[in-house]
Symmetry: D2
Subunit: 136 residues, 4 copies
Amino acid sequence: MFIHHHKVQFYETDLMGIVHHSNYLRFYEEARVGWAHSKGLLDYQSPGSASHFAVFETQVKHIKPTFFGDNLQIEVQGRTEGNRLIFQYRLRGRNDEICSVAKTVHVPLGPDLKLLRLPASMKTAMESEKWTETWL
Amino acid sequence: MFIHHHKVQFYETDLMGIVHHSNYLRFYEEARVGWAHSKGLLDYQSPGSASHFAVFETQVKHIKPTFFGDNLQIEVQGRTEGNRLIFQYRLRGRNDEICSVAKTVHVPLGPDLKLLRLPASMKTAMESEKWTETWL
Amino acid sequence: MFIHHHKVQFYETDLMGIVHHSNYLRFYEEARVGWAHSKGLLDYQSPGSASHFAVFETQVKHIKPTFFGDNLQIEVQGRTEGNRLIFQYRLRGRNDEICSVAKTVHVPLGPDLKLLRLPASMKTAMESEKWTETWL
Amino acid sequence: MFIHHHKVQFYETDLMGIVHHSNYLRFYEEARVGWAHSKGLLDYQSPGSASHFAVFETQVKHIKPTFFGDNLQIEVQGRTEGNRLIFQYRLRGRNDEICSVAKTVHVPLGPDLKLLRLPASMKTAMESEKWTETWL
């Protein structure tokens, strides 16, 4: 399974002394982009390719806070549902404890923000993915 | 009904030319904080008071993109559910069109990140709130 | 003189309980953009126009910290120097005390990131600006 | 010499298609924190220790833009000047070209935001550092 690593930075904390919740969507994006790159589905040099991941819906659950300097591990799984891409994430912090789980739904958009059909390459890549269970 | 205004800044856009999705959680936080302040439930000078809004769950749906310079209007509604605070949001962009709806769930935490009981003042304030329908 | 107002948001703080220093560049950008818009030099709908403000150099001095909920007031002054735009800023927080001063230098770039000549409209607009003294 | 690596994320870009300038201060903070940790001067678990790096002044020069997916390399050098810490940075992007140089000045502050004396351990660590030349 694809696991993304993120070290929590000082600028990601807030005055409660923990990571601000909006940053989790950024961590999950990092993980999704890393996943797509690892599958050969994303070309960093071609801005259009990133657009295939336009965000339609996000859902994040916070179980435990995370802190400055924590080494986060984020598991990613993806699948298709009609023309949509569904990703789920599980984020572990200190002592490998699950701190957050999330789900994001994406639709393929072109650079002009018009809806596209899901590319066949994406469908094929997704079919070989494991979706063991639903985390959220 | 409480409406929060936010003008989209250049630094809130991404290379797709639209507002990055993680910023919506920031706009919704602004709206929630503004709402709480308007009800006398939040004292900016007392960091502890902000902790009553620790984020437990977020859910955001994106209907239309928003752009640099847009004048966003965000409606907020709140209610309690046992020991939890539930907020819902409706965000309008150009031509007053609804661009995003969201829901966040909060639990009262102290500065030491321990679970607290929902203050009576909060419960009372929430009771007089209107929750006309569910947006998300 | 043009003054931009910014209310410090929760997500702009860090674990020291103060506004994270990287956000000042965002506040100064807000002020610069607001200034340009007020002079009719910036059209939000036209992404290219924003490119005239590509950042070449920034310098920020922090005198006092600012806090969640503070109502910041940012003064802006601009002038040209050859093909460059120079802006200076003075940021006031609680009790109208100066908390930060800054200077940014900009070069006109097209959407293709190529250097442009400073538009005559910009030069003219800048000539009528006051640059009373150097703050930084 | 200490070199920090940062992969540019999608959420760090703006509508010009490049990394937003405010993020460079975040990259430089990452590099500084990584440097301090590598010297044993920073304990992530102890929030107070991070306060030794309160930012007094920043100066950033942008030579070339950086892009989504770029693998940035950031060199860091530090020295003391009386009670102050001075850091300089050199950031390389594509083809190892220098894209930005910067300097930051820090003063030791306690958690109560009061000025402290520079710890002897910091002075000693700095003495053994190389400051080959001034980059900015």
